[in-house]
C-alpha cells in the first residue's frame, strides 16, 4: 500500500510541537469562527491567510493551520444552528431543522454532543477517502497536457455555480470578471503590460489575497453596517437550556448507520466539482429522511436528523480537498481560499505536488487526522465554552474582523494602495451579494486566470495555432462534455432543488461554504 506508507511519513512530518500547536490553535479559532453567525469557513480562512503568510510559516505548517481552521469551522457551524436556529455558516443550515427543536425540548446538549460525534465520523471517514482517492486522481492527472488542463479549468468554472446556482448567467459573469481581473499586469509570456493604465502598482497584477480578503471578509462588515449591526442573536445563547452533554451509547448506536451513510454521500458530494458542503449536508439529510423517517419525526427533533447533515457536511469538506490537492482545481469556496494560500507560497497544487512536495500533502493529511481528534475532544466536553462565544455581539466583533483584515494585508506589502484595492473589493463584494452574484467564481477566476491562459497558449504553441487541438484527445472531449452538462444541468433541474434547499435559508448566512 503506497498510500499507507506515505501516510506514515506524513505523520512523521506532522507530529512536531509547532505543528501540533498550530493545529490546536487552528481548531480553536475555526470552531469559534464557525460558531459565530456571519463568519464561516471561507471568510475565516481568508482572514488568516495573510497572517500565516506574513508570519513566514513554511508551507506545511501554514496549510496545517488553515485546514484546521477549515475543519474547525465546519464543526463550529452547528453550535448556533442548534442553540439559536441561526446557521453559523451555510452548510450548517440543515442542522437547524432537527437541532433547534431538540434544543427547545431541553436536549440541546445531547444534540451538540451527537452532532460533534457525527462531525467527527464524517470528517474522519472522508480523510480516509482522501488518502485513497487523491493518489488515484493524480495518476489520471499525469496524463493531462495543456489542452486537457485548459478544459479542466473550463469545467471548474462551468460547474462552480453548482447545482444550487440561482442564475447561471450571473455565475458566468462572476467567473469572467475574476478572469478579467487576473489579466491585469505584465503578460507572463511576452512581457507586455496589460490593463495597467500606466499605474506602476498594477504591473504585478492584483494580489489575489487582497481580492479574497476584500470580497469575503470586508464585504461581511458592510452587510452588518447595512443592517445597523442588527444582531438578532445577541444574548439568547445564555438562555438556551443545554442539558446533558454526553450522548448515551444507545443514542449513538441508534444513529451509527445514519452517520455512515451520510459520510459516504457527503464525501462524494464534496469531490464532485461545484457541489460542496452545503449540498453534502442537504442530500444527506433528505436521503436519511426518505430512508428511515417512518414515523415522520424528522423536523421535530429527531437525533438522526442532526447526525445526518453534520456527518454529511464534514465529509464533504474532506472530499473537496481531493480535487484541490490532486488537480489544483478547488471544488468549493473554502478550498479556493486554501488554493490561494498554496499559490502564495509558490507551491502549485496538482499531480506534481504529490511528487515534488509529498511532505506537504501527507503532512497535511496526517494533520487532518490529528486535528479531527482534537476537534472531537474540544467539541464534546468544551462545547459550553464555545456557547459563551456566541454572546459576543456583532457590533464589537465586526470591527475586529475589519481591522484584522487590514493588518493582514498591510503586513504583506506595507502599501496603502493594496488597502485601497481591498476596500474596493469589499464594496464590490457587498454590491454583488445584494445582486445575488456568487463570489466564489470571481476568486477562482483571479486565482486560475493566468494558469488557464498559459495552458491555452501552450496548447496553441504545440499545435502551431490550430484551435481544434483543444478538443482532439478523448480526455479533453470528456472534460468539455462534463463542463457543458454541468453548466446546463442547473438551468434545467436547479429550480426544484433550490426551492427545497432555500426552504429555511437565512438570507444573511455566510456567503459561501
Amino acid at each position: 500500500m503506497d498510500a499507507l506508507s506515505s501516510l506514515v511519513d506524513g505523520f512523521a512530518v506532522a507530529v512536531t510541537w509547532q505543528n501540533l500547536f498550530l493545529a490546536l490553535i487552528g481548531c480553536l479559532l475555526g470552531t469559534v469562527m464557525g460558531a459565530l453567525p456571519g463568519l464561516g469557513p471561507s471568510n475565516g480562512v481568508a482572514i488568516l491567510i495573510p497572517l500565516a503568510f506574513t508570519l513566514g510559516l513554511p508551507a506545511t505548517p501554514a496549510m496545517i493551520l488553515l485546514t484546521s481552521v477549515y475543519f474547525g469551522a465546519m464543526y463550529g457551524g452547528r453550535i448556533s444552528s442548534i442553540l439559536l436556529n441561526i446557521p453559523g455558516d451555510e452548510p450548517a443550515l440543515m442542522t437547524t431543522l432537527d437541532g433547534y427543536p431538540m434544543a427547545q425540548q431541553g436536549r440541546g446538549g445531547e444534540a451538540l454532543a451527537l452532532s460533534g460525534v457525527a462531525s467527527f465520523v464524517g470528517a474522519f471517514l472522508s480523510t480516509w477517502g482522501l488518502v485513497f482517492l487523491a493518489p488515484q486522481l493524480v495518476k489520471l492527472a499525469l496524463l493531462f497536457g495543456p489542452a486537457e488542463y485548459f478544459a479542466l479549468y473550463a469545467l471548474a468554472f462551468a460547474t462552480l455555480g453548482g447545482i444550487a446556482s440561482k442564475n447561471q448567467a450571473k455565475a458566468a459573469f462572476a467567473a469572467a470578471l475574476g478572469l478579467a481581473i487576473a489579466m491585469i499586469g505584465v503578460d507572463g509570456q511576452t512581457g507586455v503590460p496589460r490593463f495597467t493604465f500606466g499605474e506602476v502598482h498594477l504591473y504585478d497584477g492584483i494580489d489575489f489575497l487582497v481580492a479574497i480578503v476584500g470580497l469575503f471578509a470586508l464585504s461581511e462588515v458592510f452587510v452588518f453596517l447595512e443592517h445597523g449591526g442588527a444582531g438578532a442573536h445577541e444574548g439568547q445563547a445564555g438562555r438556551a437550556r443545554i442539558g446533558r452533554i454526553v450522548p448515551s451509547l444507545s443514542l449513538l448506536r441508534h444513529c451509527t448507520p445514519t452517520m455512515l451513510r451520510a459520510s459516504v454521500l457527503g464525501f462524494i458530494a464534496g469531490v464532485l466539482p461545484g457541489a460542496g458542503a452545503s449540498l453534502g449536508s442537504f442530500i444527506s439529510y433528505s436521503m436519511e429522511k426518505r430512508l428511515v423517517d417512518r414515523k415522520g419525526t424528522f423536523g421535530t427533533g429527531d437525533p438522526r436528523g442532526v447526525a445526518a447533515p453534520e456527518a454529511g457536511n464534514n465529509a464533504a469538506a474532506g472530499g473537496a480537498l481531493v480535487p484541490m490537492l490532486a488537480l489544483g482545481v478547488p471544488g468549493s469556496g473554502t478550498t479556493a481560499v486554501l488554493l490561494a494560500m498554496l499559490l502564495a507560497l509558490n507551491i502549485t497544487p496538482g499531480p506534481l505536488l504529490f511528487q515534488k512536495n509529498p511532505d506537504v500533502v501527507w503532512g497535511l493529511i496526517a494533520a487532518l487526522f490529528i486535528g479531527n481528534l482534537m476537534l472531537l475532544a474540544m467539541n464534546i466536553p468544551m462545547v459550553g465554552l464555545f456557547v459563551r462565544v456566541l454572546l459576543i455581539p456583532a457590533r464589537i466583533l465586526m470591527p475586529v474582523v475589519a481591522m484584522v483584515s487590514f493588518v493582514g494585508i498591510y503586513g504583506i506589502s506595507g502599501s496603502s494602495f493594496d488597502l485601497l484595492v481591498m476596500i474596493g473589493f469589499g464594496v464590490l463584494g457587498w454590491v454583488l451579494r445584494k445582486l445575488d452574484v456568487p463570489l466564489v467564481p470571481i476568486i477562482l477566476g483571479v486565482l486560475l486566470g493566468n494558469a488557464m491562459e498559459a495552458n491555452l497558449r501552450r496548447a496553441m504553441t504545440i499545435s502551431d495555432g490550430d484551435w481544434s487541438a483543444l478538443v482532439q484527445s478523448p480526455l479533453s472531449i470528456v472534460l468539455w462534455a462534463i463542463a457543458i452538462i454541468g453548466f446546463v444541468l442547473p438551468i434545467v433541474f436547479g429550480k426544484v432543488l433550490r426551492r427545497r434547499l432555500s426552504l429555511r435559508k437565512d438570507a444573511e448566512g455566510a456567503a459561501v461554504d
Partner: protein, 143 residues
C-alpha cells in the same frame, strides 16, 4: 431594474476590455495566440452573460434606505482615510479611531465605542506585533 442597470454596466465593461485589449502593444517575440486573444475571449463571455442578465433580470434585491447607504458610504470613506493615514499616524492611533467609528456605527453607545475601539487596537497590537512579531505601520510616536 437593478439587474438591468447591472447588465448594462457589465456590457460596458466588456466593451471597454475589448477596446483596451486591442490597444495592448505586441512584442516582437510572440506565441501564436499573443497577449490580446484571451482577454478578448473573456470579455465576450462577460458581455454575453451581462446581456442575458440585462434581458432576463431577477427580482430586484431590497436596497437599504438612503440613510443606510450614506452610512456605508461614510464607513468606506473612514476606511479609505484609515488606509491613507496608517503610515502617517501609526498603527495604534489609526486603528483605535477606525475601530471606534465602526463599533459606534454598528450600534454601540459612543462612550463604550471609544473603550472598545482602543482595546481592539491595543489587543491587535499586542497579539500581532508584540507576540507574533508582525511589522505594523509605525507612526511618529514609534507605535
Amino acid at each position: 431594474m437593478s439587474d438591468r442597470i447591472f447588465g448594462g454596466i457589465g456590457l460596458a465593461l466588456a466593451l471597454f476590455i475589448i477596446w483596451q485589449a486591442r490597444l495592448i502593444e505586441l512584442s516582437f517575440i510572440s506565441d501564436p495566440v499573443g497577449p490580446r486573444t484571451f482577454p478578448i475571449i473573456i470579455a465576450v463571455v462577460l458581455g454575453v452573460s451581462s446581456l442575458i442578465i440585462l434581458l432576463r433580470p431577477d427580482a430586484a434585491p431590497q436596497w437599504p434606505r438612503a440613510v443606510r447607504l450614506l452610512e456605508i458610504a461614510v464607513s468606506v470613506a473612514v476606511m479609505v482615510a484609515y488606509a491613507m493615514l496608517l503610515p502617517v499616524v501609526g498603527f495604534v492611533v489609526a486603528t483605535a479611531f477606525a475601530a471606534t467609528f465602526l463599533t459606534w456605527r454598528l450600534g454601540t453607545k459612543a462612550l463604550w465605542s471609544v473603550a472598545v475601539g482602543v482595546l481592539t487596537s491595543l489587543g491587535i497590537y499586542a497579539v500581532f506585533h508584540l507576540i507574533l512579531g508582525l511589522s505594523l505601520a509605525r507612526g511618529p510616536l514609534g507605535f
